[in-house]
Symmetry: C2
Subunit: 492 residues, 2 copies
């Protein structure tokens, strides 16, 4: 039982539309294999597999032995297949820490861009070594592969930030689909998914730009795309060899990723700037959000030593349910590092934000919320307590921030089908139809120069040049021949 | 009460998903103004307004006094506002006849292309004169405009094949949206709606091409776009003046059309080749289809004199319900002129087709069905009865045609929300939120050269040229200065 509630009109209450979507499942269930990514990515995918479980599907998660977060309640019916790896949890922790420090020290600006991408490239190298251990741990483990084969999976759902899920699916002969927030410069979505991204109004990821750009910003954006692509090329080069080796024929990472049936993107038009997309891209942002449950009266999540100055009315918790907190009627503002999950909880409950972004998509996410008038940003490197206080006062006291947050919330809640139901619908669609080939653009069958019609343009230019050459030659010839004859005649 | 039924799996019946969408409407209803187009276009839009009526909205249709089809049952609650025009029904009849004959005589091929578009241009001229009469009939009629203003409409739904609906909406100060199948070469969708259409895999309308093109076909396609645009430019020129006059400021038809909140497109991915689109484009093809009702045993729609050779088991009807006929279990094949409405009824019921296309989108529609393996085409100009019989035998006896028609049918029926419900959802969304600006791409705010980043590319090329010039100059200068010094030194 699923409900999509339309929010009442600001002025004219002519509509209160309640859509109830009843899902009746009959007969047997499907068999879903999950290829997750650790950290906050897992929190998002976990919601999907819990829903799949609720709808009677069997879910199996492939997770490395050094996972940070990937687990479930002991009474959860989700199966886990552990992939033994030689690195430890500390390796992942330190990789994430390096990633954060890279951003804090070299947050990409026109001046730091080159250093930033060079350092990012180094991190990607480390990531490649860790990731190939996970891949090998599955693909080279004949017993595990045989067990997976025997289990008869209907679909594999992969977070492509950890590479290889697609390879596992191909080896098992089953369709696969992706769930992701973004790749830098949308390189993966653009090159492997064939998602168009006109540089004139679609800001490159990590650029912190919006869809309203000045000339200078459009120059920056136009440069951002190939620059980020370039960084990825070297990373991809290693994967291309790996993929070719595993599949036993010359191929590329991108060609393989292009075989994904559906791309579930973790945003929606409440967050995204409107942009072109493809029928096999489904925007399911905020699928983890739900109505808030009641809370104790005062709280503060804090794991350090209790500060001496703390008032008697403040209770400290090691962990608090952020969604319930944001849904509390007294939640006036949200100080956030700008992760997509948190941003969506704020959108869902219509809470304005103070963004203190740290790394990855966080600066971009806050840029989106700023552009939509629902957030103020504070720089983590330079901020003082006064800056933070002023930012808080601004989003709380200037009514436009609350109004815009509420507007985004109304957009989020007023969809024909809820994001989680759409995500699950398309997973089930791929299981029912053994794929979704009818949504896959023919762009995948073209080379890059064919895709951009460069061969056609070249041919047409050659035709024009030939015509000009022939006409010019004829004219010159005629002029020489008949011009002379004319002169001769005149003389005669 | 709306139901989306998932079709059972071909081999493994692990799922039978029934989605029930219950729509509960509370409080007041909305007020919808319709700007229709005559002919088969009306049949499609009529379904939407009947549904709007069922959901308690007031619907008013603006129709000319010379309409062919635009009417409703006497007991229908739809209101009609008649626009007095001086031309007669015969004028429209003859215009459509001319249109059909143009296609039959000059069906666009590389040889007839120029004649075809020249003749089409002439027809568009006639259409302009008829259309401006309708526009003037509303916009210059102060009493009618005052009455419409007073009625307090929440949204205007326009079929943009009859131009001016947008102008009426702007004059009334209400949001508007479109419902359309296509415009030639998608000129309107591309230029006014900013819909991307890469010529490498998105076939131009009227080209009869598919998404799988040879080099030669891609050349044809790449030429088709600007050629069709060119024909439209002259037609648009007249409308630009008209629009500027009415709005009292320099504007264009396209700029005004770009203000549409949502574009409801009368196709879906069962019919379309996968292509890029925008969040304010919603593909609601087949919204008029419904389960078939039982039929009498034998039928034939025929309005002429009863042929003497007719068998006793054939009954003639002036009109038969095509949808019910196609849904009859004994319907083996569908001989169709290839109109979108009919094609969708065949897709809905999974019936293979023999296409005898005549004009407008019909040759394209049949090309789509041929490419998807659900139809055979017969040329209306050259066909013999043997050709028709062979085509019928092919689609009936070769199982692939039925299988492909059933595959398209399964795709059609397996959507998260039915097309009619999606269409109505977005109409109601625009009423609830007074628009859908969050879906409108920023591409609308750019000039054509900004959109294609030509200014940025020009600037970057100029930078590169400057750097090359400076480096070359420096090198030359150094060579002259230090080269000579070197020589001097050598001499010394």
């Amino acid at each position: 039982m699923v409900s999509v509630m339309a929010t009442p009109m600001p002025k004219k209450l002519f509509h209160l539309l309640v859509v109830n979507l009843t899902l009746t499942e009959i007969v047997l269930s499907g068999n879903v294999l999950i290829w997750p990514t650790d950290g906050s990515h897992w929190l998002n995918i976990k919601i999907i597999l819990e829903e799949l479980n609720l709808r009677n599907h069997n879910v199996t998660v492939l997770a490395s032995s050094a996972t940070l977060f990937i687990n479930s309640h002991p009474d959860s019916p989700v199966n886990f297949e552990v992939i033994p790896v030689s690195y430890k949890k500390g390796t992942i922790d330190s990789l994430i820490e390096h990633m954060i420090m890279l951003w804090i020290d070299h947050r990409p600006t026109p001046l730091t861009l080159w250093t930033f991408y060079k350092e990012l490239g180094k991190l990607l190298d480390t990531f490649f070594r860790i990731n190939t251990q996970i891949c090998d741990g599955v693909l080279s483990n004949a017993t595990l592969m045989a067990r997976l084969q025997k289990a008869g999976f209907d679909v594999l759902l992969a977070d492509p930030v950890t590479i290889c899920g697609d390879l596992v699916a191909l080896k098992l002969g089953i369709p696969f689909m992706y769930t992701l927030r973004f790749s830098p410069a949308s390189t993966v979505e653009r090159h492997c998914g064939k998602l168009p991204a006109p540089a004139s109004y679609v800001p490159a990821a990590l650029s912190e730009l919006t869809d309203q750009m000045t000339f200078g910003e459009r120059v920056k954006n136009t440069i951002s795309y190939p620059l980020q692509d370039y960084i990825f090329q070297s990373y991809w080069g290693e994967w291309n060899s790996y993929y070719s080796k595993i599949l036993g024929r010359p191929t590329t990472l991108c060609e393989t990723m292009g075989k994904a049936e559906i791309w579930l993107i973790r945003t929606y038009w409440d967050f995204e700037f409107p942009r072109p997309y493809l029928p096999n891209f489904e925007f399911v942002g905020g699928l983890h959000c739900k109505p808030a449950k009641p809370l104790p009266k005062v709280l503060w999540r804090y794991t350090g030593k209790r500060p001496a100055t703390l008032g008697a009315n403040t209770r400290l918790y090691e962990w608090i349910p952020q969604n319930d907190l944001l849904g509390h009627p007294k939640a006036k503002a949200f100080i956030t590092h700008g992760g997509t999950n948190g941003i969506y909880e704020a959108i869902y409950h219509g809470v304005p934000m103070v963004g203190v972004p740290m790394f990855a998509d966080q600066p971009d996410n806050i840029a989106h919320m700023k552009a939509k008038g629902a957030a103020v940003e504070v720089n983590i490197n330079t901020m003082t307590s006064a800056d933070l206080l002023n930012a808080l006062k601004t989003v709380i006291n200037e009514p436009s921030y609350k109004e815009n947050a509420m507007r985004l919330s109304r957009i989020h809640h007023d969809q024909p089908v809820k994001p989680l139901d759409r995500a699950v619908f398309w997973i089930e669609f791929v299981m029912r139809h053994k794929g979704a080939k009818h949504l896959r653009p023919a762009a995948h069958d073209l080379t890059w120069y064919q895709y951009h019609s460069l061969d056609v343009i070249g041919f047409l230019l050659a035709c024009v040049a030939t015509v000009i050459f022939l006409v010019t030659t004829c004219c010159l010839f005629s002029y020489r021949k008949f011009g002379k004859t004319g002169k001769k005649k005149k003389r005669e």
